[in-house]
Symmetry: D2
Subunit: 353 residues, 4 copies
C-alpha cells in the first residue's frame, strides 16, 4: 500500500483508452495515481497535462519496482495483455485489464490461474457493466421484472476505425458479450455460436458482423456489430415473458424503457395451436430514473473495493474468459461459413471460480 490510505495505481498505456482511466483514477477518493507507463513518454506526459506531479515511465519494470504502486490498469493492445498482466501479478500487483481480457482463451486462462495462485485481484474493465443503465437492467432481470428471457437483440454500429490486428467481432462484440454475461442470471452460456461476417472493402477482416447465439430454453441472443455504418446505433432489446426492455444508450433522456406489452400464449394442446390462443398486452411504458454517474468512476471504485475486501469483481477473470470463449467460437464459426460452434463456457467457469 502507498503511505496514505489510498491505493496506489499506475496506468499502463496512454493511447486511446488510457487517458480515460487516468482521469478517473485521479478523481477517485479511493485511489492515488502515482505513475503512468508508456513507451511513448511524451504521449504519457500529454495525457497528464502540464504541472502534474504524477511520474512517467517508459519501462514497465520501473513501475513494478515502485513500492507505492499497489495495482496497475492495463490499456494496451489485447495481444500484449497476457505478458504485462503476468509480469505484474508475479510482482504482487493487482491487475485491471481493458476489454477483451486477452487475445485467446488460453492466454486468458493463464492470467486467471496466476491471479488465483498469487492471490491478487484480476478484473476485466467491462466498462458498460458499470453504467447505471446496465446495472438497472441486471437488477430488473434478477428481480423477475421481465420474466423469463425470450430474446436479446443487440446492435452496436458506427463509423469505426478499421483495426490493424482484430476484426469487428473482437473489437466491438466484447462490449455486447460482457453486458450479456453481466445481466443474464447464469452469465453468458449460449448453446452455440454462429457468426457471419463480411469484408466488402477487402480490408482483410470482417468489418460487418452478426453473431447468433441460441440460449438455453429456446431463447436467442443476436449481436450486430459494424464499423461501416455512418449512423451510430447502440441499442439492446431484451424480450421477456412478462415485460420487454429497450435500452437506447444514445437517448440520454430515456435510456431504458420497460414495456408492459407483449404476446401471451395460453396453454394449449399440441394439436390445437391457433392464433386464437394468443393474446396481447398493450400496457404502459415505464422509464426508470437513472442516476447520472460515469461508468468508469464506478468501475474504479469496484476495483478498489475488491482489493480492500479481497473479493472477486463483478467482472472478474472468469467473466472475461466467458467472453473470450464466445469470441473464439465466433472466429471458428466464421471460417466454416456460419455453422454453430459450441463455446464451451461451462468448462471455463469451473476453472475460473
Amino acid at each position: 500500500m502507498s503511505t496514505s490510505s489510498k491505493v496506489g495505481i499506475a496506468v499502463v498505456g496512454a493511447g486511446y483508452w488510457g487517458p480515460n482511466l487516468i482521469r478517473n483514477f485521479r478523481a477517485a477518493d479511493d485511489w492515488d495515481l502515482v505513475a503512468v507507463c508508456d513507451l511513448d513518454v511524451e504521449r504519457a506526459q500529454k495525457a497528464l497535462g502540464a504541472r502534474s506531479g504524477v511520474e512517467v515511465h517508459a519501462d514497465l519494470v520501473d513501475v513494478l519496482a515502485r513500492d507505492d504502486v499497489d495495482a496497475i490498469a492495463i490499456a494496451t493492445p489485447a495481444r500484449t495483455h497476457q505478458d504485462i498482466a503476468l509480469t505484474a501479478m508475479r510482482a504482487g500487483k493487482h491487475v485491471l485489464v481493458e476489454k477483451p481480457l486477452a487475445d485467446s482463451v488460453a492466454n486468458g486462462s493463464a492470467m486467471v490461474d496466476l491471479a488465483r495462485s498469487q492471490d491478487v485481484v484480476l478484473m476485466a474493465d467491462h466498462t458498460y457493466c458499470y453504467t447505471p443503465a446496465v446495472q438497472k437492467i441486471r437488477e430488473l432481470i434478477a428481480d423477475g421484472a421481465l420474466g423469463e428471457i425470450l430474446f436479446i437483440d443487440s446492435v452496436r454500429i458506427n463509423l469505426g476505425l478499421v483495426q490493424p490486428d482484430v476484426d469487428v467481432f473482437w473489437d466491438l462484440a466484447p462490449h455486447d458479450l460482457s453486458i450479456l454475461d453481466f445481466i443474464l442470471p447464469d452469465g453468458l452460456r449460449p448453446e452455440g455460436v454462429a457468426a457471419h461476417g463480411a469484408d466488402p472493402l477487402r480490408a482483410g477482416k470482417s468489418c460487418v458482423g452478426y453473431l447468433t447465439m441460441p440460449l438455453p430454453g429456446g431463447a436467442i441472443a443476436h449481436v450486430h456489430v459494424n464499423w461501416l455504418s455512418p449512423t451510430k446505433i447502440r441499442q439492446m432489446v431484451i424480450g421477456g415473458s412478462r415485460r420487454t426492455l429497450v435500452w437506447d444508450d444514445l437517448n440520454p433522456q430515456q435510456r431504458i424503457s420497460v414495456y408492459d406489452r407483449g404476446v401471451d400464449l395460453a396453454q394449449v394442446s399440441a394439436d390445437d395451436r391457433t392464433a386464437a390462443t394468443i393474446s396481447y398486452r398493450l400496457g404502459d411504458t415505464w422509464a426508470p430514473a437513472l442516476p447520472e454517474r460515469e461508468a468508469l468512476g464506478s468501475m474504479v471504485a469496484e476495483y478498489a473495493a475488491c482489493i480492500r475486501d479481497k473479493r472477486a469483481s463483478l467482472t472478474d477473470g472468469a467473466a472475461g474468459l466467458r467472453v473470450l470463449s464466445v469470441l473464439e467460437a465466433a472466429s471458428a464459426s466464421l471460417v466454416t461459413g456460419g455453422s454453430l460452434v459450441d463455446p464451451d463456457t461451462r468448462t471455463v467457469e469451473r476453472e475460473a471460480v
Copy 2:
C-alpha cells in the same frame, strides 16, 4: 373491358388487406371497382360501407363470370393464392396478388407459367416498392450515388399477430426481400441464405428470425424480423462504397438520409494492409424531398398501366418468385441449424422472363 374507359376490377378477400385495396381502387381514375368477393359477405359489405353501388359476391365463379371484371386483386391467405389466380387467369382475367406471390416456389412457378401462356398480367403487390422512399432508393442506386453496395441491414420488428399458418419469416420478410429485389440492380440473387429463428413462446414456429445473405462481390444482406418486439422499428441501412443510405420508415420528416461519410481503403499490396491505409470521409448528410403519395395508389396505377401497355410490372411474377426462392431456402436453412442454402434465384429468372 368494362363499358367505360376504366378497367373493371374485383377485389377478392375483404379481411385485413382487402379494405386498403378497395379504398385505393375506388379512388383511382384508372379503375372502376365493380365487385368485392368474400365468403363472408357481411364483412365485404362492411368494407364497402352503406349506400355503396359496388356488388358483393360470396362465390368467385360469379365474379369471374362478369364481363365488367377485367382484372382481380387477391387479398386472401397465401395458401389460396395459386388456386384463385389460376382460375382467374383461365377466365382471361389479369391478376394482382398480395405478397407473398404463393406459398411455394412450385406454386408460384405454375402461376407465372400460366400468366405467360394466357397472356395476362400477373403482378405481385409488393407494396413497399411503390413508396416514394423505395422508389428514390432504387433511383439513387441505379444512378451510382451510393457506389458499389457493401452491406444492407434491414430491421422490421413490431408486436405482431402470431400467424396460425406461417412463421415470422414468411409473414414479414417478404417485405424486406421484395424491397431488396427491387432496389438491387440485378434483383435479389444472394449466394446463399442462412436463417436462424427462435420460438421462445413455444408457438410452434419462429417468432424471431434472422436472415443472412452473402451477396456477390463480398457484400452481405441481413434481415431481422420479429413479432415480439414492443417497439416498432422499420429501418434499412444500405452501405455503399461512395455513400451510405439510411431509410427510417417511421420518421416521416426524414425518411431517407444519405451520408457522404464512410471508410476508404487505399489500394495496397496484399501484404501491407494496415490501419494507416484507411481514411475517413466525414461529409454532409442529405435528405432528399419525397412526395407525399400513398404507395397503394401508385401500385394500382402501375397495375392499370401494365394492362393497358401489355407490359410486365416492376414487381412481376418473376420478382415474386425470387422472393419465394429465398423464403424456401430460409426454411431449409432453419431445419439444418443455420447452414447456408443456395436459393438458386438464377434459374428462377431464366424461367420467368
Copy 3:
C-alpha cells in the same frame, strides 16, 4: 329521424376538411350519411367516389328540406358558419361546426342563443379533444395526477397554407385553445391575453404568432403557432406541482410522457427564500398506453350521443365561445403591440350554459 334507427346526416362543404367528416360519418354505426352539399358539386361527388348512393346538392335549402336529414356538419370557411348554422337550426336541424365556431364572439353567441331556443344540439368540432391523448390528459388532470397546473406551453408549427382571410392565430390556435379549454378543470379562463405576431413575408397578416396567457394562481399558458416552419412540431408541456406531462403528438410510439420529476419549494418565510429551500425530484417516467382510435370517429359518436341523450357536448357552443373570446382578445392585443387584454371568458360562460 331517418327511417332507420340511425341519425341522418348531411355534410356541408367538401373542401379540405369535409372528406374527413364524410369518411367518418360513413363508417359510423350511429350515422346514415344521406347527402353532401357543396357549391362545387363535382368536388362533392369526387369526395364520395364512384358508385356512391349518397346524394349531392349544390343548394343548402334542398338539404335542409329533406326529412331524412336530422343533423348537419359544417366544414366551410369560418365566416360562413353563422349563416349556415342559423338557417339549419331554424329548420330544426342539429348542427356540428368545424373549428372555430364562428368568426367573432358576437356571431358565435347568436348561434349559441338560437341553439338554446330551438332546443337543438350545437357542437364544435374541436377534433383534438377526441384524441385518446387529450382524453387521457384531461383524465390525469382531473384525477390530480399532475397536481396544481403551473405552466402550459404549446407549440404547433409547420409549413402551412397562408390563408386568404385569417391570420395564423385564427387558423391554428383554435386547436391549442380548445385543448386547453378541454383539459383545464374550469375551462380556459385566462386573466389576460397578450399576442405578438410577425408578418415577415408581408402577406398582410401574422404568419408567426405567440400567445401569452396568465392563468389564475400565478400559472401561465403560452402558445406558439407558425406557418413558416419547415419542421413540424406539435408538442405541449404541462407542468404541475406533482408531475409534469409532455404530449408529443408526432411520436406515435410514446405520445404522452408523465415525469415524476420536478422542483419542490419548501414553505419558507417571505424573507428567507434561498436556493437551499428548493429540492428536486428525479423520479421515473411513465407513458400510459393509449388506444389506437381515430379522433373523428369518437367525435361523431359524441355528436350522435348528444342528439340521442339530449345533452350538451363536451365541446359545446360555450366551449367554442371561450375559444373565440381568447382569439378576439388576441387580435385586440396584436394591434396594441402586445398589451394584456381581458378575454372576459367568465361572461361567456354565464350566457352559454
Copy 4:
C-alpha cells in the same frame, strides 16, 4: 508574460463553471494555468486534483500580484464580476468573464471603458458562440444561404437550479441572446423587448419566461426559457427567405438541418393579396458535417489569440453589453406586464467599439 511562450492564466472561482475552464486552460497549448483562486481553497484544490503543480489562492490580491499571471478568467456569480474585473484590469491583467458580462448595463459599461483605457482584452465567455454548430450558423447566414432572416425561435428548457439571486431570464437567456448577437450580421438590435414570466412555485422570481423581440424589417425573435421542464429542449429555428435552419443541440448526429423548404410570396399589388399568390418549395434537407470540437477549447484559443494579436474578441465587451441591454429591457418589461421596452442597443455599440 510568463517565462515560457505560453500565456499565464489564473482561474477565479472554482464552483460550477470554474472546473470546466481549468480543464480547458490546462489542455491548451497556448496557455499555462498557474493558479486557481477561490475563497474555498479546498474546493479549488479538489478541482485541480491530487499531485497538481498549480497553486491555489484564497485572495485575489495574491493572484494579481504574480508576474506569471498575464490574464484571468472569472467564473464567479455575476454580481461580483465588475469588482473582480476592474481590480484585475487595473493590475494590467487581461480579463475573460463568464456570462453574463455583469449584473447591469452600468456595471458592464464601466468594465468596457476601463478595458479600453487600460488597453487590455475584455472578453465575454459566450461559450455557445464557440460551438461548431453556432460557428456554422453564423457562416451560413453571412454567406446568404438562408436569405433574409424572417423569424428566430429559441427554446432552452430544462429542470434547472432555481437560482438564489437571479430569475430564469438572467440565468438562461444570456445563452440565447449571445447566440443571436453572434449570428445576426448586425448583432442583436431588436426594436423592442417584451417579457412575460411566471412564478407558479412562488419562488420570488420568474421560473418560466418568454421574450419577444421584433427585429428590423418585420422579423421577430422569440426566446423560451424554463427551469421547471422535466424534458430538456435546446432548439433554435431560424426562418429565412431562402432556407430555414433548425439547430437541435441535443441531437449530436444531426445538430443542424437546413431545409430548402418554405413559403414564397409573389410580388402582388397591395389590394390583391390572396392565397393564390403563395407558392411552396418542398426541397431537400441538408445537414452539414460539423467537426467534433469542444466549444471551451475554441473559446480559450480565441482568448489567447486576442491577447497575442491585440485585437477585440468575437465576443467582446460590446457583445456582452448588447446582451445586458436586452436583459435589462426584459426586466423593465416584466414589471409593466409585458409592454415593449426599447433596449437601446444602438447606443451601446457606439460607446463600446
